[in-house]
């Protein structure tokens, strides 16, 4: 580690509910940073608004905690301005798929090198437990007292279907697995989506730790699963019932947006001098 901020030390104690899945994600994130030897000053976490967004206070890296639904937009701007930064998007199911759904679809089209961690607790938890875009059909919440009518969105399937180059799922209760997936996502050159299943002990009585322990199985343990076949990956992604797969569903090498921009081959934008531009070529058109 090249700086003296090293251990991504917690300055403020997390104020998530005791037993919240976010603690597991925070541990996995720190472990991943350590294993990747990423110094704090080279990491940028861009948070949305939700319980997940409180991450801004709990880990020693650069942070931009923006508005509900917008972390992906801020992160893409920050990355294009300085592509030497390791940029992580910290978002929730409401943040990423509800308020910010449009940004997700278009980020897939661009394929900018970012790691998106979707804290998926199937609830709007910070706002005390309304239904979210991933709440299961029929589930009763404050906003669906008779049972939810809508079908849930599936972020992994969405990513695979729409040109995503890395789609994975993990579980906040399996820190080792999650750490490994975060590392793989970060090592992927392009937009990486990690759907992190996470129980909300306060507002989600259906998708509990028990619920997941019974159902989860690892793609890594399936012989011959290569994560390079889009249709097979899509089919796996749709599996949600007695069995729920975790692991890397799909991975594909594709040119990133940054690499397609000739302008950025000379290094990050932020390192360019501001003045002294020569406009004579441009001005010809106006004479």
């Amino acid at each position: 580690m090249t700086d003296n901020l090293s251990n991504h030390n917690i300055l403020h104690k997390p104020n998530w509910c005791p037993g919240c899945g976010n603690f597991g994600i925070l541990s996995a994130l720190k472990k991943a940073f350590e294993k990747l030897s990423l110094p704090s000053h080279k990491i940028l976490l861009v948070e949305g608004i939700g319980c997940h967004g409180h991450m801004v206070n709990f880990i020693e890296t650069n942070h931009f905690e923006g508005l509900h639904g917008r972390p992906l937009a801020v992160a893409q701007g920050a990355k294009l301005a300085n592509h030497d930064l390791n940029v992580f998007v910290i978002s929730g199911d409401g943040d990423f798929l509800g308020e910010g759904g449009n940004h997700f679809l278009h980020a897939l089209r661009r394929n900018i090198n970012l790691t998106c961690l979707l804290f998926n607790n199937q609830r709007y938890s910070l706002t005390t437990g309304q239904a979210s875009p991933t709440t299961e059909k029929g589930d009763k919440t404050k906003t669906s007292p008779q049972g939810l009518i809508e079908e849930p969105l599936n972020p992994v399937a969405l990513a695979i279907a729409n040109g995503g180059t890395f789609a994975a799922r993990s579980f906040s209760g399996d820190i080792l697995h999650l750490t490994d997936i975060i590392i793989k996502a970060h090592q992927h050159e392009g937009l990486a989506i990690v759907d992190i299943l996470q129980p909300c002990i306060s507002f989600n009585k259906l998708n509990t730790v028990e619920y997941f322990r019974k159902r989860l199985y690892k793609l890594e343990e399936i012989s011959n699963y290569q994560a390079d076949n889009r249709l097979e990956a899509y089919e796996r992604a749709l599996e949600w019932g007695d069995k729920i797969p975790i692991g890397v569903f799909y991975r594909k090498e594709k040119q990133t947006y940054e690499n397609a921009l000739l302008t950025l081959t000379e290094g990050p934008l932020v390192s360019r001098p501001l003045g002294g531009i020569d406009l004579e070529g441009v001005l010809k058109e106006y004479r």
Binding site: T2, D3, N4, L5, L11, H12, S40, H41, K42, L44, V46, I49, H54, V56, N57, E60, T61, N62, H63, F64, E65, G66, L67, R70, A73, V74, A75, Q76, G77, A78, K79, L80, A81, N82, D84, L85, N102, H103, L105, H106, L261, L262, T263, L264, E266, L269, V270, R272, L274, G275, G276, I277, L279, E280, G281, V282, L283, K284, Y286, R287
Partner: protein
């Protein structure tokens, strides 16, 4: 602080000043023809102001473009037309009332018949535009060039200048295309000379070349082009935006220059993304601008406050068009002043600047970038369709002399490890910025209320201290904010008040009034917030009579002046039909008041 005074000189009687107008269907290349003619006169040393009208359609519908050409500086379109090129009958019918006595009408007699239904003694000049095209096996769109050739002959101007413009326009299309275009233009020129030897409207020789360090001619630019040039001269490297008329041409220019000038230009999925990407870029340390019109600015409103709270430098251009909703997309209005003043919840400092002409658009953009970074706040540049899309000849900008001021920046060497606080309390409320990636520190920006280090807080004392800190920046900014200018004699019997793009028509009206023996002065606002209280109070307290001129329904500036100074302006000239002010409308109103 006091207003600067600027003299108003009446026109010289010997000066040349005429308006040429071309009209036809959308898709016939009306704009490009108008631009070529305008450029031909700018290259010859003339001043030009060009204004175009077009419907929100790609093909069909009436388009027109008018160029006012003069030996003196011109700042606005006028109602009276000296030469009309009517590519179809509709153009003649629609614009007949604008024609001056003895005006010339260039038309294609084989396409439609014209008789002069007026008593203006119009000079009808029949040029077989389509036949000439056919004869030269040229494309129909080149018809414009035949009309341009005939125009050059009509005013006895130098054909070679036009030929030069055409060569440059088609430089990438090859010799053949260039030759053919020039040939048809020449045919129009010759046809006029041969068939109308006795009609001579004017005799315009090019003026002597202008002395200038860069080049011998002025630039012909729109306000949007000036903003784009200001942006890149001011160090902007990142431009995320979503298209919306009349802001889109900023995006087009920057996208066009991106490779040559080393910019990253992103067409985003919406304006919400544009403003948030811009904020991400600015947080990372890159100078960033985005641009939109009112509807897109609505979507950017949430980002505006995010920049305010996180103290991220952000420049947004709002090119206004008549609202609400989709409104009248391709026309002009100054309807968004109140909206931009108050957009977003809560209180945070912002700057609003509305340039009045192309030169001011360049200056204001650079100043906006500097103010945004020095004071770490959002700056909104308010323009409108009139300035954004009209062409004005202007002196070449001194883009190499641009002063870039980034404000307080925390350097690595000053740091002792993790002590850096992004929102550190300081005397002037401005905390040194650092960019993510700086060794030994981390930069924590937070949209929740936060403490000095960027940690979220709900503490009452810190909340008050942070609000005060952010607002305190305005006190210091106030000292360097350019003041409204007063044009004309301070003792004049009437003061006209206006902001932004009414500047051109008002200055032109003042000239006409001065010539008629009616002196006026004009208080022009570029910077609207923070409000220039002292200057305005001083000037308006001395005014004998005040007329507020605004392109909107609600007289937003008059309301703002009353709110801030208590001075009520009773006389108002307001326009909200999508059309810009014509100087004569202002002259008539002033005459009725004095």
């Amino acid at each position: 602080m006091s207003a600067q005074f600027f003299k108003v000189e009446p026109s010289k009687s010997s000066s040349v000043d005429f308006t040429w107008k071309i009209g036809g269907e959308a898709g016939w290349g009306i704009k490009s023809a108008g631009l070529n003619l305008s450029k031909a006169f700018v290259r010859g040393g003339y001043h030009v102001f060009s204004y175009d009208e077009y419907p929100s359609l790609v093909r069909g519908g009436h388009n027109c473009y008018q160029a006012r050409i003069s030996s003196e500086k011109v700042r606005s379109q006028v109602l009276d037309v000296d030469i009309l090129v009517a590519l179809n009958k509709e153009t003649f019918d629609l614009h007949i009332s604008e024609l001056k006595p003895h005006a010339a009408v260039i038309y294609d007699g084989r396409h439609f018949n014209l008789v002069d239904p007026t008593d203006k003694k119009l000079r009808l000049i029949n040029i077989p535009l389509r036949e000439i095209i056919k004869k030269h096996e040229a494309m129909e769109i080149m018809m414009n060039n035949v009309a341009l050739g005939a125009t050059i002959a009509l005013v006895d101007y130098d054909f070679d200048i036009l030929a030069g413009i055409i060569s440059d326009q088609f430089a990438n299309k090859g010799e053949e295309i260039i030759k053919q275009n020039i040939k048809v233009a020449r045919a129009g020129y010759d046809h006029f000379k041969k068939n109308y030897p006795s009609v001579k409207l004017l005799s315009l020789t090019p003026l002597p070349p202008l002395p200038h360090p860069h080049q011998d001619s002025r630039l012909l630019l729109t306000g949007n082009e000036a903003i784009a040039l200001g942006a890149v001269s001011g160090g902007v490297k990142f431009f995320p935006a979503y298209p919306m008329t009349p802001a889109s041409s900023i995006l087009h220019s920057l996208a066009e220059w991106a490779q040559e000038l080393g910019l990253v230009v992103v067409q985003t999925e919406d304006e919400i993304s544009a403003v948030n990407m811009a904020i991400g870029g600015a947080y990372s340390g890159v100078r960033t601008v985005t641009a939109t019109s009112g509807g897109g600015f609505c979507l950017m409103t949430e980002g505006l406050g995010l920049a305010g709270m996180t103290e991220t430098p952000l420049v947004i251009v709002n090119a206004q068009r008549p609202g609400p909703a989709t409104g009248v997309p391709t026309w002009t209005e100054q309807g968004d002043l109140r909206f931009t003043l108050h957009a977003h919840q809560g209180t945070f400092p912002r700057v609003i600047a509305a340039p009045g002409d192309v030169a001011e658009a360049f200056e204001v953009t650079i100043n906006a970038l500097n103010l945004a970074e020095k004071y770490q706040l959002p700056v909104i540049i308010l323009t409108d369709k009139l300035l954004s899309e009209s062409h004005e000849s202007t002196e070449v900008f001194d883009y190499q002399g641009v002063k870039i001021e980034r404000g307080k920046i925390h350097k690595e060497s000053q740091s002792d490890s993790s002590k850096y606080g992004r929102y550190a309390f300081t005397k002037d409320g401005i905390s040194p910025r650092a960019f993510p990636g700086t060794a030994n520190i981390t930069v924590r920006a937070n949209s929740d209320e936060h403490d000095e280090f960027g940690f979220s807080t709900e503490d009452s004392k810190i909340r008050i201290a942070m609000m005060n800190k952010r607002q305190m920046k305005l006190k210091h900014l106030d000292k360097e904010l350019p003041q409204p200018r007063l044009y004309g004699p301070p003792q004049a019997p009437l003061t006209v008040v206006g902001w932004g793009t009414t500047k051109g028509p008002i200055l032109e009206a003042q000239k006409m009034l001065t010539a008629a023996g009616i002196p006026t002065n004009f208080l022009h606002f570029v910077y609207l917030t923070p409000f220039p209280l002292e200057t305005v109070t001083k000037v308006l307290n001395q005014s004998k009579k005040i007329l507020d001129v605004e392109g909107n329904f609600d007289a937003a500036l008059a309301g703002l002046i009353r709110e801030k100074t208590g001075i009520e302006i009773k006389e108002k000239l307001l326009k909200y039909d999508g059309r810009p002010f014509y100087p004569s409308e202002i002259v008539n109103r002033v005459k009725s008041l004095v």
